[in-house]
């Protein structure tokens, strides 16, 4: 077999997915800006790495058995820390990428309260971060800097007091029925294997189509893994502009990877071929299969707010924590993650649902997996059955059912904004 030429056409393969799930609901937290969250966290968000340890100390005061028992409607207090925020050129690509990521988390509907914490002398200041957030009324926001408050110990004491005052108010939030069209599903794959493209990914694609058909939003990402099949996505684009936006991002990647001394090459490896994959197109289709067949409504840059409903694409790297951080910053309230080798990722404040591609790994790592799509290969379930199961699981988890990564409280360390651009 040989590859066919990749001709770029726009909008020639637009499919409207079935609307069989239209009208379905989940139980979510409706926020003052109209968006619906699936969790109710308090976030301690840092402007700079220099306040990261302090933020963790603050969040740690609210961890452990029984500490938040008086507030059953609060999911926890989470530190959002990172390795940057200063010593970077604000106008550089890196500076332009970090701020939207932090803003995206500060705006995330899964937070009911926020404490913005800085050191005091950083480039991305607490004031600019808090002001730039344009937070809706009704969200409790506190701001502190370590330098003004009198050092780490004084800051921890003050922050804990403020969060304790915030807790009874954040705890007043209640889940109410929301239309499934209010859900934003993020999709990612990691630790893929030969089964990813024939079990978990296409099954997730069917679930994505069901969500999109019901008016919801589903986000495909990981640009390097789409390389080779991008012309199939542009054919699904609702407008030529949307299609061109995707091609622009791929051209950016080509320059970015070339400047780093690499090549953007997703050709099947010898291992892929032994596993039954023949062409680059087939391999990329396995990744793109997560996106089902719905038309492509929009293309977003990393961490950009997702505003369109329907099937959309976000430009992220293939590295899992960085990719998922961008998707959640964009507003994803549930994440579905397919894995063959066995990823142990979590992404709070958004719950991650982990989908195993094969039964052997599922049996070995069942405590870290939410659903076994390997049954499709075993012949004990069909693609359609597993696709519907994933859809129902998404609604259950969105409504409050804890996924395994949440039972293990994962996601604080996995907040990893994409770091590119000039550092000074």
């Amino acid at each position: 077999m040989d590859n066919t030429a990749r001709e770029h056409e726009f909008g020639t393969a637009r499919v409207t997915p079935p609307d069989t799930m239209r009208g379905r609901t989940f139980l979510g937290y409706r926020r003052p800006d109209g968006r619906v969250g699936t969790r109710n966290f308090i976030g301690v968000i840092t402007s700079v790495n220099c306040s990261a340890s302090t933020a963790r100390m603050i969040a740690d005061q609210f961890r452990g058995i029984g500490v938040l028992d008086a507030y059953p409607h609060v999911d926890g207090v989470m530190a959002i820390t990172h390795g940057s925020g200063c010593g970077l050129v604000p106008a550089s690509e890196g500076g332009q990428m970090l701020l939207p990521t932090l803003r995206g988390y500060a705006h995330h509907p899964n937070f009911g309260g926020l404490l913005v914490l800085g050191l005091g002398c950083e480039m991305i200041s607490v004031a600019s971060l808090a002001e730039g957030l344009e937070l809706p009324e009704g969200l409790h926001v506190e701001t502190l800097t370590i330098q003004d408050t009198g050092g780490i110990r004084a800051t921890v004491r003050e922050a804990v007091e403020r969060i304790q005052r915030m807790l009874p108010v954040v705890d007043l939030a209640r889940r109410t029925p929301a239309d499934v069209s209010e859900l934003v599903l993020g999709m990612n794959c990691g630790g893929s294997d030969g089964y990813s493209g024939i079990t978990a990914n296409p099954a997730l694609g069917l679930a994505s189509d069901l969500l999109v058909g019901a008016g919801g939003t589903s986000v495909l990402a990981e640009t390097p893994e789409v390389f080779g099949a991008e012309h199939l996505l542009t054919r699904r684009a609702v407008t030529p502009e949307v299609g061109r936006r995707l091609l622009d991002r791929l051209e950016w990647w080509d320059r970015y990877v070339t400047a780093g001394g690499g090549t953007l090459d997703n050709n099947p490896s010898p291992g892929n071929k032994a596993g039954g994959l023949t062409t680059i197109l087939e391999k990329s289709l396995g990744a793109v299969a997560k996106g089902g067949s719905a038309e492509l409504s929009a293309v977003y840059e990393y961490a950009e707010p997702i505003t369109e409903h329907g099937f959309v694409f976000m430009d992220t790297p293939g590295y899992d924590p960085v990719s998922v951080t961008g998707i959640v910053a964009g507003g994803a309230t549930v994440v579905c993650f397919t894995t063959g080798r066995g990823s142990v990722l979590g992404s709070k404040p958004a719950p991650t649902i982990k989908l195993a591609t094969n039964s052997e790994m599922y049996r070995r790592m069942h405590e870290d997996m939410d659903l076994n799509c390997g049954r499709i290969v075993d012949g004990t379930a069909t693609l359609e059955e597993v696709g519907r199961e994933i859809f129902e699981k998404i609604l259950a988890v969105a409504s409050g059912e804890k996924s395994v990564s949440e039972q293990l409280d994962l996601g604080q360390d996995e907040f990893q904004p994409w770091q590119v651009g000039a550092v000074t």
Binding site: N3, Y195, I198, P202, T278, L281, E282, I376, G379, L383
Partner: protein, 98 residues
Amino acid sequence: MTEQPTAQELPLAEVAILLRPDDDVAIATRDLTPGLALRYAGGVVAVGTTVPRAHKLALRAIPAGGQVHKYGQSIGRATRDIAAGEHVPQPRDGQHRA
């Protein structure tokens, strides 16, 4: 292809995945050997060659140069005639480079 009288007939879904109804290929979920006849909505296909697990089985004859569809999409062109029931051949290294 004519079905041999000794062929063991099975539903295709028990031993292979058909990702989209109109695909030209199904993916074997176990090693397939000649002698099996696989029944699916499009008819019956007799397995003519060994198809390793996770590899592609041609459901219909594909002439050299013809498009091969999987995921409802063309994944490439056949570099030689492929018979129904045959293992879809793997490329030599470098042959398929885009």
